[in-house]
Amino acid sequence: MYASAIRALVGEIFGKNRAAIVGAAAVTPAAWMIAKAYLRHVPGIEPNFATPLGFLLLVVIAMQLGSVFAYVDLTAGGSGSGFPRHILLLPAPTWLLALVPIIAGSLFIAAFVLLWLRFVSGVQLDWTQQLALTVAITAVMCWIQAMSWELLPRSMRIVALLVVVIATIVSVISALANEPDFLLGRRAGQIGLVLTSSGGYGFAYLAVIRARRSETLALNASLKRLFFSPGQPLHAVPLPTLSTAVAAQNWFEWRVYGRILPLFMTIIGAFPLASLAFDGMRRAPSIALSTMLLLVFYLMVSPMMGAAYISKDWTRRVQMGTFAATRPLSDSELAFAKLRLAIKSYALSLLIVCAVIVVIILASRNNVALLALWSRLTQRLGTTGSYLSLMLLFAAITAASWAASALFMSLQLFYEAVDRKKHGWKISLAMITLFGLLLILARRAYVARDSALQWLHAARAEVIIPVIVLTGIALYLLPPFRRVAALSTLRALAVGFLTVTVLGLIGLSQLRLPFGYRWALSSGLVSLALVTFMPFLLVPILVRMSRHR
């Protein structure tokens, strides 16, 4: 009986998500081989996947496979709607329903990860490390499975999973580290791994029981029961003053989407802050530097929020719902409510990240690595130049994350607005061709970089190009050249772009940098201006397309 139930369950998992599994497990190595072949033709660059970027790619693929091996049907058009509830009616014991996807997923992903590490990254692991890694993957799978069984309300699942993934990563790093006292220490790391995997399985098991009864843990109701007796009247929620339709929409956007990213960053930031309580952690030589990884995480996560900002609510299928589309607002007002939300949310998140980093640096009093970096910078650029570079870096991070998010938003809107059945293959073909052309162009530019730089130097391109691009953007935003609906935000933007142009040009002329640096700065300025501007051009048009089909 068990054998047939296991067969049915495995069939369900592989059958429903065959394309996604093949996609992640087979196409990715193919892409890696293409990348390797491509890099072979670029002189001076050796393909190396034992880099943080290579490992990051591996983690992303493994996480994707993790969600595939949960029972969710990814082809059903959304994480919320894809759960095959008929599984709950199978005559199989609950422990089996919980265990099969965990074991199937863990074995598959572990094999994939170990093969990748061995053949792609060239990392050799001994058998204890391989075992620890498999246990860590199993732990995460347990929790993914627990979440997919709808144990928690949808809005809580991602946060819970994030916490567990971080705890597992910390445990696995502690367990595998060469130094026995690194992070939590080897013994604590091993215990942490066992606890997270067994706890995860327990939760997955409980979740199956609840799912079979169509129950979800009602956290709000439980908390209310803790603080209020059942007879107590409900408390009236204070109502915000919403004087205009735009103010109402801004409030709505913030309440639905705005708090997610700051909340994520607070949760992630809480881990290094909490680690300060441990003396060993506080005195670890790399704590201040590794906290900077928060910035990297922020840069990774924030662009993806752009796609979520377009969904009806952030946990559900991406689309502009009828309710949103029928708000009596112009298309531009709807679009700018989204863009404003992104700016506010990102600025607050970055502020949280910066605050955590500053606290860690101050509290750890162990900034050797950072001070070394700073002294290298000041030696090269001088004190003013270093501070200026630091400010530019933070400005660039804010702008780039926001712009990337807005571009994701645009892509998602485009994906929603076009008839995918009719034009999907044409778009895919166009994207692949464009990507291929860009790669070829990048390779040629890299090979011809010396002669190209000489030509650009002679033409004073580092001054002329930013002037043309930034002035063009500013003029586009200013009346009477403005093509999108009149909004005060655009006036502010135009002034902002003009200011950046002037400051950038002053910076370029005053920094007295060699031409290569000036050109890099100028290219960065132009790229940043373009990616920041593009959403203002694209999002209103795409909101319009998505709203009026």
């Binding site: 915000p240 309440r255 029928t326 607002l329």
Partner: protein
């Protein structure tokens, strides 16, 4: 006020295709001010597609849509601020309390009447402190109805509102809302598959089938002119050639004709052709709908 001003909605020769399927075909509809305009039709007939054009959620592929004299795609803000809309499956923000929701909605409509909104909530027996997600489907529909109404819209669009409302709410709340709207000289567009309800509240009926308007007439005319004629006549009967007959069933030499016509003229014509009229019976709206829904081969045969 000229005739154009008197129409809140003016749709001309509207055609809409989704890939190969025509959802609307050459539809021309005018909704006059102060009327309750009912749309009926089987599932997939094009009712919601038509409503989405009125709301500006679909742009006209062919033909034109004008609401309050404006294109709803070009002027969504101006058009939507004068419309109250309740959809079949309202996707309200469930995290809000009813009070938050009404407060949020009020900001969009300059004519929002807070006192009237409170009255509507009271009439619908809703506790403003409750969250929308805690409400039943019917209660959510009541919230939607209150929110669609509280700014006294010039056009109230109700797309299958009854699917969420229980019979009591339908009969009492919906009917009261519609009465108030019409009493104040405003218009209602009601799409529903509950024909009794449509018969009870609507002044004008639009009958949709396969994206085409089969019938557009006053409710009075619709009820007065739909007949079933039972007759006996030897041999074949070329019923498709008879004026106003849209469906026919033959059984053992007896024919049942379904028509939308002047009954005296038609029976006279049939008798001239040698038919023996056994019975004539006025059809209810429900019967007329069923007869028309099974009509597949006689497009355009409308008197």
């Amino acid at each position: 006020m000229n005739s154009t001003d008197n129409n809140v909605v003016d749709i001309r020769h509207l055609t809409r295709r989704f890939n190969d399927k025509a959802a609307l075909q050459d539809v021309t509809v005018r909704i006059p001010r102060g009327q309750v305009f009912g749309i009926v039709g089987e599932n997939g007939a094009g009712k919601t597609t038509l409503i989405k054009h009125i709301l500006g959620l679909y742009r006209a592929q062919h033909g034109s849509v004008s609401v309050f004299g404006m294109d709803p795609v070009k002027h969504p803000k101006e058009v939507l601020s004068r419309i109250g809309y309740l959809s079949e499956q309202p996707d309200f923000p469930e995290w809000m309390t009813i009070a938050q929701f009404m407060n949020y909605m009020a900001a969009f409509y300059p004519n929002w009447d807070r006192q009237y909104a409170a009255q509507l909530l009271e009439m619908a027996s809703l506790d403003a402190r409750k969250k929308i997600r805690e409400l039943s489907k019917g209660q959510q529909a009541r919230v939607g109805l209150c929110a669609a109404q509280a700014h006294r819209p010039e056009l109230l669009v109700l797309d299958e509102p009854s699917s969420g409302l229980d019979p009591v709410a339908r009969r009492e709340i919906l009917a009261a809302v519609i009465r108030t709207v019409v009493h104040e000289g405003r218009s209602v567009l009601l799409s529903s598959h509950l024909l009794e309800e449509v018969e009870r509240v609507c002044d004008h009926l639009l009958f949709f089938s396969n994206g085409e308007v089969l019938l557009s007439d006053s409710m009075e005319a619709v009820l007065d002119r739909h007949y079933q004629i039972t007759l006996r006549r030897p041999g074949q009967l070329e019923w498709q050639a008879l004026p106003g007959v849209f469906n026919a069933v033959a059984d053992n030499g007896e024919w049942q004709l379904f028509c939308f016509a002047d009954i005296d003229q038609l029976t006279g014509l049939l008798q001239l052709q040698g038919a023996q009229i056994l019975d004539t019976r006025r059809l209810s709206l429900n019967e007329a709908f069923l007869a028309r829904s099974s009509q597949r081969h006689t497009p355009g045969r409308i008197a």
